[in-house]
Symmetry: C2
Subunit: 174 residues, 2 copies
């Protein structure tokens, strides 16, 4: 069986978004046979002129993150790595496994996030993106939603995806 797997340095763990790829050069960088004998062709973009749109990245990430949180919280593990940090209401944990264990063990199961604002900025020379979110969290059986603010620092990895390096969450008590 022959399988063509098209990826780029701008692919995502979370859903792909639009980029400004003007004058970016597209190259086949890998052509090899996978151990299970499927043919894998990987595409990458190589150009310093290629510009990512942080706003589109932030929007796609936020939609994916909170949808996953509300429907399959354990699935958030894919978004973190071993160096990732979470500070949840002042409690710090590090590493994808510990972070997801913390999130899964929160004292509520069913919930729904409603996002009010999403701000983002590039974070500097490491090509990361800072995402700052405000919104409300409706817990099942509770009359009033809880206001919250949360920030993420998304960092690129060589394979072309982004992951959450920093995650800080706070409820906004009235």
């Amino acid at each position: 069986m022959i399988q063509a797997n098209f990826t780029s340095v701008l692919s995502f763990h979370f859903p792909p978004v639009q980029y400004k790829t003007t004058r970016a050069r597209k190259n086949i960088c890998n052509l090899n046979i996978h151990p299970c004998k499927t043919l894998i062709i990987r595409f990458s973009f190589f150009s310093t002129e290629l510009k990512m749109d942080p706003d589109a990245l932030a929007k796609a990430f936020v939609e994916h993150y909170y949808r996953t949180f509300d429907t399959n919280r354990a699935g958030l593990a894919n978004l973190y790595q071993e160096g990732s940090m979470l500070t949840f209401e002042g409690s710090k944990v590090q590493g994808a496994q510990a972070i997801v264990e913390k999130l899964v063990a929160l004292p509520f199961q069913q919930c729904q996030h409603v996002i009010s604002t999403v701000d983002c900025q590039p974070s500097g020379p490491a090509s990361g993106v800072l995402v700052f979110v405000s919104g409300s969290l409706q817990l099942a059986g509770e009359q009033h939603a809880l206001k919250f603010s949360q920030m993420f620092h998304l960092m690129p990895i060589p394979q072309g995806s982004y992951y959450v390096f920093n995650d800080i969450f706070r409820l906004n008590y009235a």
Copy 2:
């Protein structure tokens, strides 16, 4: 007149804080005569083992930032550089001058920030520190304080200080 000016690679624009300097080697790296003929001795620490305490840095920064905001807003210019970015209630500006002009031109003069929480995390390979703040903002003549959340990304500069590279502010509407 002889003047000894002790600095280190961990000095700050804002007030100095405590560090874990275990096993750090202290060296005199400069000994020269200033044009005004004061003797300036500069100390630096050279050790990969020297660890900054992000919590102490964040606490010192937050105290300095909001005290300056509430008493001498124009003085915040020292904390930003040309590459710095501010997103204030969704409005983006870049560069120290534009940022301070934006802050000085906000439609209130007298105000007082009261800080509720300060969270921080190291931001990655560039040795930055993320600071996440929640609190309330009391405007002169207003009955109720406004809740806000704000995040800063502090980045080191070769001279040993930190500056604000990213700054995102949002009011938390009830």
